[in-house]
Symmetry: C2
Subunit: 152 residues, 2 copies
DNA sequence: GCGATTGATGGAAGTATTTGCAAGTAGATA
DNA sequence: TATCTACTTGCAAATACTTCCATCAATCGC
């Protein structure tokens, strides 16, 4: 699994190696995620707003594009937590890697860890010749308080 | 885990029990999924088109709403395969339950099974007091042919 | 360092999906 | 069965996200 402790030069090297470029926008977005308190996940819209509050002007299209690129590179992981947004967080090593239990009605999200999931992911990527980027178990269910109504 | 062998009356009973109703639209969508050859997953748009081809007129909003409802009820499972669409399939019992290995660059999807994943999901839902609806392992990576370029 | 090449950006337009609201209808009640 | 209530539907408008395209600028070669 790709490491999360990128510095700008490592990112530049990886981008250049494949014909890409390190732009100020990409560098700032990476730094922003690295300075975020651990475990937080952000939506594109939220990231865009927070960048603007720090006088970092990056267009919303570039925010979306960069999030997608960094997810494809294995630097970020993209989370679908069942609501209208996609969320992103640093794709950390084993110790910070976690999974999500989501209530499909009220949207409550509970994080949990499970060591063997990463092992399962490694096995299948090895078998199929893939390079592993991310591995997420999403458990969907209805939380106790929501088990009485059809909709939230 | 909820069973997939719903008939219209069972669906009506479950809906009525929680203040909902069985409409012709909902019944037709359920039947459509049940008559689909095993293992197929459909996007909302594709389902809408296929329904129209059978002279079954259901508005696109109702298609989206019904897919979401049935996912929340545990009848369908929603898949994010990394492209622009969400896909839906019957949320079957253990024997048909599978997971996805997805290439983040070209979008290739490989299905695989792994018995212990459902067990892991059951454990966490039991512990947290949730009713289990679905449990999906998404493994993201780069397939062998794509490991040379930045983008697809 | 300087210019050329080509990937990246920003803003507008497009796409998939969700939501608001008025009209329709399933299911309950008598 | 007739009536009523509130859930559902269909359409249109809104939202999250992606793509198009003209312009900009990171990197490369000299």
């Amino acid at each position: 699994m790709a490491t999360s402790s990128y510095n700008p030069n490592a990112l530049r090297a990886e981008l250049n190696g494949k014909g890409g470029r390190l732009t100020p926008q990409r560098e700032k977005i990476l730094t922003f995620f690295q300075e975020l308190p651990g475990g937080e996940h952000l939506s594109a819209e939220a990231l865009h707003t927070m960048l603007h509050e720090q006088e970092i002007n990056v267009s919303i299209s570039t925010v979306y594009r960069t999030l997608k690129l960094m997810t494809q590179m294995g630097i970020l992981r993209e989370l679908d937590l069942g609501d209208d947004y996609k969320y992103y967080e640093l794709n950390g090593p084993r110790t910070t890697h976690h999974h999500h239990l989501i209530c499909t009605k009220c949207g409550t999200v509970i994080e949990f860890k499970h060591d063997s999931i990463l092992t399962i992911g490694s096995k299948i990527t090895d078998k199929e010749g893939f390079q592993l980027l991310d591995c997420q178990l999403s458990v969907h269910g209805v939380c106790a308080p929501c088990q009485r109504s059809i909709t939230s």
